[in-house]
Assembly symmetry: C2
Homo-oligomer: 391 residues x 2
C-alpha cells in the first residue's frame, strides 16, 4: 500500500546512478545483444572538442541530458568545463539532481500542479534550478507555488522560433511576459531567454542551414534588444544545438549552447553535412548498437536481433559501422532484415556487428545500460539512469 507520491519517490530512489565495475574486462563479443555500446576514445574526443570550441569563443555549454540520460556523462561534461545541464522533463531533472548535478535548466514548459510541486521540491534542494515559461498562466502558477514554499526560482522566457511547438512569440508578447515576471512575480527571478531552433538543426547543407538559422534567430536577437531597451537585462541567452554549434560564435547571440547529440552522434546528424564536406564530421559517432545475426532464411538475406525495440524508428534506418554493400530493413519489433547485396565481408550466424543509431536520443531511451569500451574491452557498465523518465 502506497500513495502515488510515495510511489514516485520510491522509484526515484531506486534509480541506478553509479557505474558498475566488472571484476575483469569483458570483450564486446561476449555481450548479450542488442546492447548499447560506447567507444570511449571517440566519446571523450567529442566531449573535449565541443568544450574547447565553446571555451575559445567565450560561450558556455549546457549539455542536454535528454540525449544521454546519464549523470555520469553529465559529470564528465561538467568536469571539462560545462556550466550546467538541460533536462527536457521534470523526471530527468530529478535524476540529474540525484546524481549530484545542481545547475539544471528544464527546457520545456511545466503547467500542471503535480509537476510544479516537483519543480519546487527540486528548487528547495538547489538554487541553480531553472525553468522556462511561455505563458503568463505558467508564470503565475510558479510564482504562487514558489511563494507558498518560500523559495526563489530562476525563470527563462521561452521564445518560439516559428516551430509552433513551445515558446511565446518574439517581440511584444515576450516582453509582456518578461515584464510580468519582473514586476508581478516576486518569487521568480528573470534569468534570461531561451530559443531552441529545433526546426533547423537537421537542414542538409551547411550554407542552407546557416542561412535558415540566422533568419530564425533574428527575432530572438531583436527580442533581447527590446528587453534591454526596456531595462530588463538579459544575461543569459540559451539555445542552439549540435547542428549549429559552429555557427554560434560568428553570430554572437547565444551565451550558452544546448547541445546533446555531439557526444554520441547519429546517422541523422551525420547526414546534414559540414562546412566543407557532405557528412557532418566535426564529431564522430561513438555510440553503437551491437546486434547478432540470428537467422538466414535465404542466401541474400540475414536477420539481426534488432528492430523497433532496439533502434528509434522516427527517422532513417540503422546502418552497419564496419560492413558495406548491405541494406538494413526494419523487420518488426525484434528484427532487422539485412539485404546482402555485395557485402564487404562475410556475415555468419552468430556474428556480432556494430550499427550506427538513426537518432541517438530516443534510441538511448530504449536501453537500461551503456557498455562503454576501449580497445574492444568493457570494464564497467553505466546506467541510462533517466531512461523512460518522460514525465
Amino acid at each position: 500500500m502506497t500513495t502515488l507520491q510515495q510511489f514516485l519517490q520510491d522509484r526515484l530512489r531506486q534509480v541506478p546512478i553509479e557505474a558498475i565495475k566488472l571484476d575483469k574486462p569483458v570483450p564486446l563479443a561476449d555481450l548479450h545483444t542488442p546492447a548499447l555500446v560506447l567507444d570511449l576514445d571517440i566519446f571523450e574526443a567529442n566531449l573535449q572538442k565541443m568544450q574547447a570550441h565553446l571555451s575559445s569563443h567565450g560561450m558556455g555549454l549546457r549539455g542536454h541530458t535528454k540525449m544521454h540520460k546519464s549523470p555520469l556523462i553529465a559529470r564528465r561534461q561538467l568536469a571539462l568545463g560545462a556550466l550546467g545541464v538541460c533536462a527536457a522533463t521534470v523526471s530527468e531533472a530529478e535524476v540529474m539532481l540525484a546524481g549530484g548535478i545542481n545547475n539544471i535548466l528544464i527546457t520545456s514548459p511545466v503547467v500542471s500542479a503535480e509537476k510544479i510541486d516537483r519543480v519546487i521540491e527540486l528548487a528547495r534542494h538547489s538554487s541553480e534550478i531553472r525553468i522556462v515559461v511561455d505563458h503568463i498562466q505558467g508564470a503565475a502558477l510558479f510564482n504562487q507555488a514558489a511563494a507558498t514554499a518560500a523559495v526563489q526560482l530562476k525563470v527563462l522566457v521561452d521564445l518560439d522560433p516559428g516551430m509552433g511547438r513551445t515558446g511565446i512569440a518574439c517581440g511584444e508578447p515576450a516582453l509582456a511576459l518578461g515584464q510580468y515576471i519582473v514586476n508581478d512575480c516576486p518569487h521568480l527571478e528573470f534569468a534570461g531567454l531561451q530559443m531552441y531552433i529545433g526546426n533547423c538543426m537537421h537542414i542538409k547543407g551547411y550554407a542552407d542551414r546557416r542561412a535558415r538559422y540566422e533568419a530564425l534567430l533574428a527575432p530572438g536577437i531583436a527580442t533581447r534588444a527590446l528587453f534591454e531597451a526596456k531595462g530588463i537585462a538579459v544575461s543569459v541567452f540559451s539555445g542552439g544545438g549540435t547542428g549549429t554549434f559552429d555557427m554560434e560564435p560568428g553570430i554572437g547571440a547565444l551565451t550558452e549552447l544546448q547541445a546533446g547529440s555531439y557526444a554520441f552522434m547519429d546517422i541523422e546528424y551525420r547526414e546534414i553535412g559540414g562546412p566543407d564536406s557532405e557528412l557532418f564530421e566535426a564529431f564522430e559517432p561513438s555510440l553503437f548498437v551491437l546486434v547478432t545475426a540470428i537467422s538466414q532464411p535465404r542466401t541474400q538475406l540475414i536477420t539481426v536481433d534488432a528492430g523497433f525495440k532496439a533502434f528509434a524508428s522516427d527517422s532513417v534506418a540503422p546502418q552497419f559501422r564496419d560492413l558495406e554493400g548491405v541494406v538494413y530493413h526494419w523487420g518488426g519489433d525484434e528484427h532487422g532484415i539485412v539485404r546482402l547485396n555485395n557485402p564487404s565481408s562475410t556475415v555468419r550466424l552468430g556474428d556480432k556487428l556494430a550499427m550506427l543509431t538513426p537518432h541517438c536520443d530516443p534510441t538511448v531511451n530504449l536501453y537500461d545500460y551503456y557498455f562503454p569500451y576501449r580497445n574492444g574491452m568493457v570494464e564497467e557498465i553505466w546506467p541510462v539512469s533517466a531512461r523512460g523518465k518522460s514525465q
Copy 2:
C-alpha cells in the same frame, strides 16, 4: 565488482512483477503524464472474447508477451484458459518464468552461446520451455548444450512464410531439419511447427487479408502433411495473430494462436478493417497514453507532452480518443503539436487527454508502469516487467 553474468542475474532479480496497491484510488487526472493507462473493463472484455472464440473452436491461445511484457497480464490470460505464452526474447522468457509462468515458447531463433546457456537454465526450471530452430546449426548447438546440462528441450521447427525474416523454407528443407532433430538430437524433443505470418497481419480489408493469409499458410500445411507422411507427428502448429484470429478455425491448420495485440489494440490494427466494417472492431482499444497540453504558441495549435519517447513512431501518428477535428503531428522526442482544425471540445493548458497508441508493442516498451483504471480511478499500478528486455 561483479561479473557480467552476475550483473544479468541481479537485474533479473530486481525486476518488479507484482501489482503495487495504492492506499486509496487515484483519479486519472492526478497522474503525471505521459502515462500508460489501461481501461480494465475493455481489457477484460477483450481477453474474454478471444479465449471464448478460440475455446469454442477447439484452438489454444498462446498469448504473445512481447506485446504486454507483464506476467500479471499473462496470468490473467492463463486463468481464462490460455495454454501458455510466447516470448520473443530470452530476457522476456526469464521475466515470465520469474513471474510464475512455466509454459513459454521463445518464438525467435537463438544461436549465440551466451543466450543458449540462459535458455538451458530456463529449461532446468521448467520442462515446458519451448524454443524454435530454423537451421541445423541451431539445433546442433542446443542439442549439445542440453546434453551437457542433462536436460530435454522441446523444439519447434520455425517455417518461413515468405517474409525472409526467420524460419526455414517449407517442404524438404524443413523436413530435413525435423528429421535431424528426431534422428540426431537425443536431447531435443520435436514439439511441432511454428509459422508466424507477420507479413499479412496488417493487410487492409478482410477479404484481401484472408486470401493472402491462406496463400501464405498453404506451404505450411503441406509441410505438416510431409512431416506426417514421413512418420513425424505434428501435434502442435503454432502461429497466427490478432489480424487473422477469426480466420483460423475456418482453415483448421493451427492448433494454437500467437495473438498479442487483441488485449490492448492500437490504431494500426483498427485500420485493417473487419469482415463487415471499415474498422477492425472485434476488440476495442483498452490502452491509452494520457498526455497533458503544455503550450499554445498559436491559437490554432496546442502542444502536448508526448512525442517519440511516449509513442512508438514506426507506423502511424497517435490519435486522440475523445477529441475530433484535430490532427497530431510529431513534435520531437518529448512533444506532439496538435492542429486544432475544428476541435469537438475546447482544449486548455493543463488539460489531460487520452490518446490511442499507433503500435502498442513498442509503445508499451517505452514505459515502466501501467495505470489500470475502472470508472476513471486507479487502484493499483502494474509493472511493465519485461520492458527493455530485448536481449
